[in-house]
Amino acid sequence: MFVVRMRGDRLELTGPCGPDAWYIESHDEDDPMEIVKRLSTNLMGPPLLVHSTSWRRGKGGVLLSFLVVLDENQAADLAGVPITRAELARNSATEAAKGISANQVVEHALRHMAWLSQDDVAVRSALSPAWLAVLAGYVPEPFRHIG
């Protein structure tokens, strides 16, 4: 999970375990979306938006990436770091990238949000004008396998 909020005119990464990827286990009986929403709400308050943006292979199985959007003033006690742009990890038409960094996962997640902000009225309605302005700088991308 990547927890993101707007600070001024920039997006920043935050989270209950620090401004970094937040790993959560999902068991056979779990609904990943329910787990993400419940833990986010319990630790930071109800999110504005939760969306799964990509998947990749990882140690022990599949890693499903989620973007969790908080209100700008939510969980103010949690440290945040500005999100910087990154090139996407890519490979051939039939193979995923060999390696991927957290920054690249976040980059793709925000490009996916850029797409949804144009395509999905529920997503567009949940995001502030400041968010939409930032997403306008991202090339829209669909949900995909990224590595």
Binding site: P16, C17, G18, D20, W22, Y23, I24, E25, S26, H27, D30, I35, L39, N42, L43
Partner: protein, 56 residues
């Protein structure tokens, strides 16, 4: 080194960066609570103690 009469303090570092500390009896429920609430993980007492290190 612990003071005479006081239980040793252990430290557990979660992979997410959070540090937790306490005596053997304190740290197990602390880590289990963090694992469940922050990571949806169930960890046993043995898991916790295998990751615990004496506080420097």
């Amino acid at each position: 080194m612990s003071k005479e009469g006081q239980a040793a303090i252990l430290v557990v570092a979660c992979a997410c960066g959070i540090l937790m500390r306490g005596t053997v009896d304190e740290i197990v429920p602390i880590v289990q609570k963090h694992a469940k609430e922050s990571h949806n993980m169930q960890v046993t007492r043995e898991d916790v103690l295998s990751r615990a290190r004496p506080e420097a």
